[in-house]
Symmetry: C2
Subunit: 455 residues, 2 copies
């Protein structure tokens, strides 16, 4: 038995007291959000109409390297953090690899994922500002659940627009949110103007994150005392999620382990950005080298096949423009896609780091993702979320490469959450009814041809 | 901020290396299992036809105080243990109680409950004996999931008979078991003789644990290389579950906390027996005093309204007789009962401890249980299993008593698992459609009148 435990837990006293803002270490900053009307950078006052003031400030702050985590948030974190960094001994044995595999497990909380790290921060600032409530969108439901939990903790109203296909595939998610007191509406709905417009334009649409965002933003800006909150993509979210990377780094340092490779799944980029930020910071400061791999679904391949350009963040085009790797705001993944990570664009921080070569990207197909999920579940005893399983897939591939070369690489991946609410997808896989779908260039070009003209 | 952390984790090196067998400290032992034909105590050879040999030995061993945990099992435990003992600061604040509330959380593994502690032990001994597979029953599905995980780890075939009402209410449980490679059959089925007989006798029955046990036992004894395993009730299961109590005690001792009251939910008694065993041992040895409370559903009240007598463990009457607090093996809880803990009898160890006055029992109604569950979920960030929420209910009641008296009691309760697969029940509660049901004396007497004649 090695001296490295199966699970490396930090003490509560070793938990980060500040978030790390990787933008502070970037010489070339991510491009600013633009006002879609004027095409000028969004000002703090403009942003504050949509977001809480302090969150808007965090969104625009690309120079501070560290930002204090308020005590109220740290107390909430203590209920489920520090999360374990797990040495995957059984997985290594199954794969017969000389690689050492570690995963940072963020699923040990009721939201079932890392999303809670930012949800509680956003709810806290909303409460501090004296708001009545917040609105948001959710895809697979992880973010909506996390926000419901956070709002119930701070006694805020919570209104969630849930992508229709997920709403139907995951009825129990809705009940968890209701148990935490949230109101959940399938999107596109008939309750907002933009929802009615999208329903008319695309009859029978199963919805998209971009569309649910438009509805939530409209709901926030048309109700007194409400603001909109978002679970990924934004720089503020990556800031909050840096707690994942900071803990991972601290746990590795505690045992003198140097990561060679860090792997994270990437949808909007919140988990990936949070996990890698302290490592990316070391690369940016020239202190260390790491191989960082973002893994995305082949059916929603924003980094590997998208364009680095300004685009709308939402289908209804009511949000600011962001420069990001994007498939176009009209892109909707094939309905057979079951694995989450379905946003059309990538966080501008992750996009810029990718553009600078700090990280690589890889796309994987969903049957191979569920194959990885099942293998992992059977030996490590955790049923992974399909999202997280994208990272598992590449961790397996890399561990098998090490088996060929004999390299004892230290592979770290982010296990962002659990799959308890994804059993419809697992059932499809178990029944052999899951297919892969890779969009053609022609299909991608339809949405890409509608990018806004900027500059 | 107190110096006691939110979550007390032991080091892996502080984990128990031996299980504790409370029977070793009992002067008056639990009554032996009887052969239903001869009414003589079951011999090791008779038991070995149904159970693995080493488990049969553990079942009959009422003198050893400690039994070594094999290294293979300890390695598996390391994947999800030690489990945290959580100081419920937020819950205390919500209740405005001077009491200090702690809970031992067993839900941080994919089976979602403490059941895995015994599942892995039973799978290990089956593998060691060279068996092909095991059969079992499951009610809410926690045990079946745990056993599926354990069997997949040791590459054993796993056949699960699932109580029909749960099979229908919890379709996703089946998929988790299938993901771990198990075969799941709703019970009573038409696949066994006893299943066909029960279906004929009680057409349209929604099944019961007692009935699923009969089917699983028949399946085990009619297939070469199979044995039957059981997730609760048996003394061997309580032995394995002592890991919960041992860790709880070690964590309390580490911070110099003396528990005043220990609360556990009780169905067949596996969690309760495991949680309380080291504390009960201290009472039995005259070293310490604790108030121990078993909490059961008012709709299935074996301890509070059952009879202490020999009874069949299963509906089909194929298993040994056990002396226990029982409602009669024909007792089936009202179909409106949603909260698990539906077994007709109570572990003979727990029954005997109860009879000796080492523990008290209390029954609670299900709407008050879900009310407690929701309150807890909202402030502690964990969505509890309905089973576990029985203990939460009484912890709340006791904490509120402390509020009246001003007592700073240390209340410890077992949070046995999570409720991710219980959203149908939560939905009923959220929709205001949940009712309470307390069986009348007349109803109870129907099943009690059919107890076997022993002595």
């Amino acid at each position: 038995m090695s001296t490295i435990p199966y699970k490396i837990y930090l003490e509560e006293s070793e938990m980060p007291t500040q978030w790390y803002n990787v933008r502070g270490d970037m010489k070339k900053k991510p491009a600013p959000l633009l006002n879609p009307g004027t095409l000028q950078p969004m000002t703090i006052d403009e942003l504050s109409g949509v977001f809480c003031r302090e969150l808007a400030e965090q969104e625009l702050d690309d120079t501070s390297r560290f930002i204090d985590i308020p005590e109220e948030i740290r107390n909430f974190y203590r209920m489920y953090r520090p999360s374990p960094l797990v040495r995957a001994y059984c997985f290594e044995e199954k794969l017969q690899t000389p690689a050492h595999i570690y995963y940072k497990f963020e699923g040990n909380n009721t939201s079932g994922s890392h999303k809670l790290n930012s949800a509680i921060a956003q709810a806290y600032y909303a409460k501090k500002q004296g708001l009545k409530g917040v609105t948001t969108e959710t895809g697979a439901g992880q973010w909506g659940t996390a926000l419901s939990m956070a709002c119930s903790y701070f006694d805020l109203d919570c209104q969630v627009y849930m992508v229709k296909v997920s709403y139907e595939q995951k009825p129990f998610r809705r009940e968890v949110m209701r148990t935490y007191g949230a109101k959940v509406t399938p999107s596109p709905s008939m309750e907002t103007e933009v929802g009615r417009r999208i329903n008319q334009e695309f009859p029978g649409t199963t919805g998209s994150l971009g569309c649910a965002i438009s509805e939530a933003v409209e709901a926030a800006t048309t109700q007194e005392g409400y603001r909109y909150v978002l679970g990924s993509v934004l720089s503020q979210v990556l800031l909050h999620q840096s707690v994942i990377g900071l803990e991972t780094k601290a746990a590795l340092d505690k045992y003198g382990i140097k990561a060679d490779m860090i792997i994270g799944c990437a949808g909007g980029g919140s988990n990936l950005g949070g996990l890698i930020s302290p490592f990316a910071g070391e690369i940016l400061r020239g202190e260390n080298q790491y191989e960082i791999i973002a893994v995305e679904p082949a059916s929603c391949p924003s980094l590997t096949r998208g364009r680095y350009a300004y685009d709308f963040c939402d289908t209804g085009k009511v949000c600011p423009l962001a420069k990001m790797y994007t498939l176009g705001s009209g892109f909707i993944p094939s309905a057979n896609h079951a694995g989450g990570l379905r946003y059309h664009g990538m966080s501008s921080v992750v996009s810029e780091l990718y553009d600078q070569g700090i990280l690589k990207a890889r796309s994987v197909e969903q049957t191979s993702v569920f194959e990885a999920a099942e293998m992992f579940a059977r030996v490590e005893g955790i049923l992974p979320a399909p999202e997280s399983s994208h990272a598992i897939r590449v961790a397996i591939d890399e561990a098998l490469k090490c088996k060929e070369t004999g390299e004892e690489k230290n592979i770290v991946f982010g296990l962002t959450g659990t799959g308890y609410f994804d059993m419809v997808a697992y059932q499809k896989y178990n029944d052999g009814e899951m297919n892969d779908y890779i969009p053609t260039d022609e299909e991608l070009n339809v949405a890409l041809s509608k990018l806004p003209k900027v500059e």
